[in-house]
Amino acid sequence: MRKLNGIKLKHRKNTENSSTVVFPVPAKVRIPMSMTMGAPCQPLVKVGDEVKVGQKIGDTDAPFSAPVHSGVSGKVTALSDYRNAMGVVCKMAEIETDGLQTVSDEVKPPVVTDKESFIKAVRESGACGLGGAGFPTHIKLNPKTNIDTLIINAAECEPYITADYREMMENPQDIINGINMVKSQLGIKSAKLAIEANKPEAIKNFTEMAENDDTIDIITLPSAYPQGAEKVIIYNSTGRIVNEGSLPADAGVIVMNVSTVAFLYRYMQTGMPLVTRRLTIDGNAVGEPKNVSTVIGTSFRELLEFCKTDIDSVKKLIAGGPMMGMSVPDMDMPVVKTSNALLAFNHYDERKTSNCIRCGRCVRVCPLGLMPADIDRAYKIRNVEELKQLKVLLCMNCGSCTYVCPANRKLAETNQLAKMLIPRK
């Protein structure tokens, strides 16, 4: 079996032992209508409407989407236009909270009798992949092919982030129950909970919990970034390869994030949709790094202040991990469903890019076996045929190539730009 490449990163899991702290309900939340992959929602509320906790405030008829709910009780004060980090423009509900946190009547455990009602309930929960990509969960759980293995992604391979780890330490039973629930609802025979080797305590706990259950395997992934990438985790836990142009389901597997599966279990018990989120708040500008649970729509600025950040010193703010997270242009942007970390740094060194010396480090680290140095060269002369042969479309932007490049070339970015040169069928 081929061994996939990976890079050794400093883990910097400074917050791994920080139990989740609940952030008090802010005076105002701003909830975008597009927080997942897929179609943005249309607001179901008008300015002046009263809303309650768990109330659905946005939805759409498009199947590839997930509805939006309010995590607070209060009054809608505005429906503004909002451009999210991906550049998608959508509506955003601004809600002034009343501090009462009155729960909506809509919140009740869903009635699940068969697979169809289960999938419907999953959609109503507003769930999406909580690892960061935000793929609507009800789509993922309803594949056309036959699935025999459920992989639970607990790699959390990015430095700093410990949000999933805290879920594993604080709610392990929800995770196991969630796995069993998804398995039985979808008729999947076995599940694999794949955890990176840098979390020995979680591995030990789950191994003990699943000792008498031979349908759940605990897999220890090597400590090499990016173990959490979908193709990598599938290969390293089952040996299966997801072919070009195929989905994981075509290889008989579904990959779910560990926090998503735990959320889903809780939703089925309580009916409380996805309205809160745990984030790791860290970075050298943050005075007290923490894991914070907060309602979706809280502004980043408030969370940073809560963690004793010297706001004026922040030069760079990253939503997500340092490898694949996105630069945040505005500190007042809100927490969304896919926010798993907020990293604030007080320095940013723009380094000069120099000539490629063809050292081959990028080729040696690419987990998929791509050749970023050659892609870089083909991109420079806009050689589309060559880019196709180099399979640039398979790049998942893990950033390993840029990370190791001694000439500071922005190889991962070039790969994304190169993809746009290739006409889509």
Partner: protein, 313 residues
Amino acid sequence: MNKLIVSPSPHDENYTKTSNIMLNVIIALLPAWGVAVYFFGLRVIPLTAVCIGSCIFFEYACRRIMKRDNTVGDMSAAVTGLILAMNLPVTLPYWMAVIGSFVAIVIVKQLFGGLGQNFANPAITARIVLMVSFTSEMTRWIKPMERDYDAVSSATPLVLAKNGGELPSYLDLFLGNTGGCLGEVCALGLLIGGLFLAVRKIISLAAPLSFIGSLFVLSWIGGDDPVYQILAGGVFLGAFFMATDYATTPITNKGKIVFGLGCGIITFVIRRFGSYPEGVSFSILLMNVLTPYIEQLTRTKVLGAKEAEKNEG
């Protein structure tokens, strides 16, 4: 309000930079260079300084005239200068060394776009140009430990092997107690340097091993003394420091093995059937030229990739 800086991911980076790699190469060359000072005397030092200094000067001047960034800081010119010096006999007039630097930096490197863009190894090409232009100066060897730079005396072990004569022992070859260019005599020092670079993951041993290995096997089959063939001449210098040059050799390990095999075969053929006693420089230069084709055929296999579609129509 303070402005946040937006940039594409990843936001983290490691700290191995081009200049750091070059510095490691310089450190790796020092053991063999030190031995050269010991055996060939103090003239090694000014000769090396002339090579490095003129390489840096040509790099700076060239970039300046072409209105490009100053790249002296990446230290690649210093590495080229040092490797060039290692390829020269200690008695070479300084002005000839400057011509070598000119060929290496201006013609081979900068005219093709600078670092990483050259298709041939600068130091090797410079050595070959000097060799064919100033053959007698480039083949004037002194006996080790004899500091008489005017004496025309010793021959290299390979010349002795070709024309007959008393051969130095394996131990003398391994330690560098023999006639030859500064950097090629001490196999031990080069081996230490090469292993240092391999341990630091700066070079892969694929090309050096396949180069030395194939030369060993071919010499053995051909009836020559294989140990003698790999220890004498520029094999170790070429294998560890020039057949591992990033820009002019293939990028994948498969490609590096092919490159090394090619070098071994060509070196053997030149030494055995050619009129030159030494073939390492020519073999590396010829393989440099073949490198783009080797790279085409030795690409990595992408996980899950479909076979390339045939062009339609």
